[in-house]
Structures are given as C-alpha cells and as structure tokens.
Symmetry: D2
Subunit: 144 residues, 4 copies
C-alpha cells in the first residue's frame, strides 16, 4: 500500500476551512504579515482538526503532544483581510499523526504547513502506539 500524497497548495485538498482575520499587529517592520503570525493561523486550523479527535474514544489518558511544525511560506500577506485555513489529516506513523494545512487568501495559497502530533499517554508520560480503534478511525479520516 502506497502512501497518499496531498497537494496542500490547492483548496480542493481540504473539506473543512476555518477563517482567521488578519490583525494590524500581525505585520512586521517589513510591512507584511510576520511568519510568527502565520504559525498562529496554522494553530487555529490544527485545533479544529486534531483537538477533539480523541474525544469519541474511551481511552482515558490518551492525548497528543505537538512535536513538529513545518511551515512553507509562499506569498506575502497584508493587513487587512481574512484568510481561510484548510486542514486535514495526511499521514499516520506508528506513534504519530501528521496533519496538513493550506492558508488561502481567496484562491491563492499563501502558506502550507505540516504538523506532527505524537500520541501520548498522560499516565506513563511517554509516547505510545494508539489503540487499534483510534488507528482505524485515523486511517479512515486520512483516506476520506
């Protein structure tokens, strides 16, 4: 079975979007939205996709920790305006889950991101292989 690949620069890749309004203070001394603010936009998308994913399972103590964020900056962005952050699950490792994001101004992609969350057992305070039902649900979401 080959791994699916997703073009995060295309709106069609995403089923769900969340709007984020640009703030004046997002701009830096270069006169465009600072890369750090883009990381905050990505996080809004991530909370929509990853947070709550484990709520429908009965695995007390199973949680995620954020291990890695990669952001590719494609275009300058300016205040004022509203971007839309598309997000979806894109890959599962043995103990990790990768989600992908596209940040769009209209149809134009201004940045993409991949974030890696690690399955974490709050009781043992260590990363874990998630239970089979979680694995199945995640694979289904990636395929869908």
């Amino acid at each position: 079975m080959t791994e699916q690949s997703f073009d995060l620069t295309r709106r069609e890749t995403f089923d769900s979007f969340t709007p984020v309004t640009i703030r004046f203070s997002d701009q830096d001394s270069m006169g465009h939205v600072n890369n750090v603010s883009i990381a905050a936009y990505v996080e809004v998308g991530r909370t929509m996709i990853v947070q709550g994913l484990l709520d429908r399972f009965d695995h007390p103590g199973l949680d995620f920790i954020l291990a890695r964020v990669v952001i590719d900056y494609k275009r300058e962005l300016h205040y004022p305006g509203t971007v839309e952050v598309g997000g979806r699950l894109i890959r599962m490792g043995s103990k990790s889950l990768t989600s992908g994001y596209g940040i769009f101004l209209g149809n134009e992609c201004v940045a993409t991101s991949e974030s890696v969350n690690v399955f974490y057992d709050m009781n043992t305070r260590s990363s874990v292989v998630p239970p089979q039902d979680v694995q199945d649900a995640v694979r289904e979401l990636i395929a869908g």
Copy 2:
C-alpha cells in the same frame, strides 16, 4: 456646549464594526483570552476608525501618533469564536483625538477601550493643533 458622552458597552453606540477571530494562542494559562490579545483586537478597530481619517485632506506631513490606550475588561472570553469591534470618534482635544471601542461577543460586551491619538507634524516632529478643516470634519464625525 457640553461634551457628549458615549456608552461603549452598548452596540447601539457604534455604526461600524469589524470582526476579529479569536485564536487559540490568544488564550493564556488562566484558560481565557489574555488581556494583551484584547489590545490587538482594539487596534484592529482603531485602524478602521483613525487610519485614513487624514487621507482626504491636503495637509502633507500631518499624521497621528498613539499616545494612550485604556482598556476596561468586562468579561472572560474564550476560544473559539469571533468578536466584533465597534469603534467611533468620541472626543477632540486641542491637539488630540479620542476614539472609543466596544468589543462584543454577540450582544455581550467583553471589553471597552478609549484610545488617544495626538495630531503630529512629521516635518517638525512635534504635536500640533490640526487645521480648521480637520477639526470641523472630526467634530462632525463625533456628532454623527
């Protein structure tokens, strides 16, 4: 002539609103939106009201500098959600202009702010009494 007073906690006080989406990173370790993020929301409103005000006049070098911001925190605010920032001019001093803001979640006021901008001559690098036409226009906006 008595000074007009405005109840910034009421939506009816404002003609114009601008939406600001709350971000996950706006929340602090108390689990609610941090006071500093509210200052960023106020700034979005302020750029809508104060920025551009001088564009229709032909007074080269006349600008504003931000001198004071007062924020009154009324209620806790939580992610996710979208607030609306209402803004209007509320007072003119000899060299300054005060604008007022209400931040609303639905009909509920979560914070109000008054900001003082000072008329500033970029050539002499000092505060100035604005020309009569600017004074007239500002008074009209306050009255309206």
Copy 3:
C-alpha cells in the same frame, strides 16, 4: 490623609525591575515596537508585582481579576534591545488595587502603565472588600 502620587516616568519610583527582551516580531509595519507588545511587557511586570501577593495569606478563594489597563506611550522603541519594567503598588480602592509601571530603555522612559486588579472571591464569583490583614499589607507596600 492625602493619597500618595508616584511619577512612573522616573526609575527612582521603583525598587524592583524585570528585564524583557524586545523581539523582531514586536515591531509593526511602522518600523517600531507595536503598542500591543508594550502591553505584554507591562503584563510581565504585573505578574511580578501582583501575582503571589495573596500567597502568604490564608484566605482560600481570594484572588484578583484584571479590570483595567492604561498605557501611556512616551517614545518609539526599536528592535533589538532589552527594556526594564519597573513596577510597584500605587493605590488601593475599597475592592481594588492599582499598580504602576514604568518601562525603561536605559534611563529613558518609553511607556508607563497603571493596572487595576479587583479583589475577587472565587467561591461567590464576585468582587469583595479584602480582609483587614490584606489591606494592611497592601497599604504598607504602597507606603514602602
């Protein structure tokens, strides 16, 4: 008894300072440190002064909520650099405590702030007059 007044623009007003390093992302499109970032600097000072104040008393459920922040902007500030935030208690109301801050770059004051925290009973979820021992301690700190 007359109320004491404090000149927040003078380093001598403060006994305690905390350093805050300026970040590139603190600057806005005007090329100087944004007013919102200054609010974050003030907050660092406030946590040093106000947080922990109630720890040495045995009044379970007594806490503070932040009700108001006033910031006066005195000078432009630029990256890179480190400011020092001086803080002290300056006033007590029947149910509130006002603290004052000066933000300094070397000996130069770039901004001052007053913050109002309200004494709050977490059990009744309402503002309260603080117990006598807290009042006494606060008055002593203001006088000191």
Copy 4:
C-alpha cells in the same frame, strides 16, 4: 565532499547565543509556552544570524526572503525564565541558505529549528543564485 551535519540539541554546536525572556502571555491554556511563541524566539535568533549577512557585500538589490521554518518541540517550557537561542548557518543550496537554531533553558534543549532563506533579487523580484563572493563567505561560515 560530504555535507556537514550539526546536532542542534547541543550547546556546543553554537558559537553565538541571544537571550529571550519568556513572557506571561507566551503561555497558552495548556499552561506552557505556546508553540507560536517559540517561533518568535527562533526569529530573534534568525535575525542575529541571517540579517546583516549581506551588508558587507556590494550587491545592491540582493536580499533574503524566508521560505521555510521547521521547529521541533523537545520539552515544555514555562514562564518565567530566559531562554538562550543559539544559531548558525548549516547548509547552502543553489539559491538558498539554511540556518539552524537551538533554544536552551540552561543546558536543556527545549526546541530546535531549521529555517530556509532564499536569495532574492529585489530588482527582478525572483530568487537568484548568489554571487561567488557571497557563496564563498557563506561556505566559510558554515565550515567555521
């Protein structure tokens, strides 16, 4: 010639460090420093390493744009405190320059980052292969 590799989790990898004070508002509702704030810390390091790199050359219009930021989160970080951001050049592509960062609390690495800047010609508004003297200087810095 094989590419050099650098262990960004070790202080010894870096010659230069810049301090960044943690702010109360850096913490999120999980009670630890938010990933977005870590991106702001990395940026402070990056401006120290990458900004100014082209100043000693006479290539008008040659600049950098930020193309990619990767951050690996290693440990939770809490307010208050001061981290040190170590930075160094680690790799050169045909039109790009990669810099590496380690964020340390004492000797403990809390995060690492790689950032990719692209050489950019402000006149043609496109990415460019940098002139030979810049390439030589960058290679020397990477080796050093």
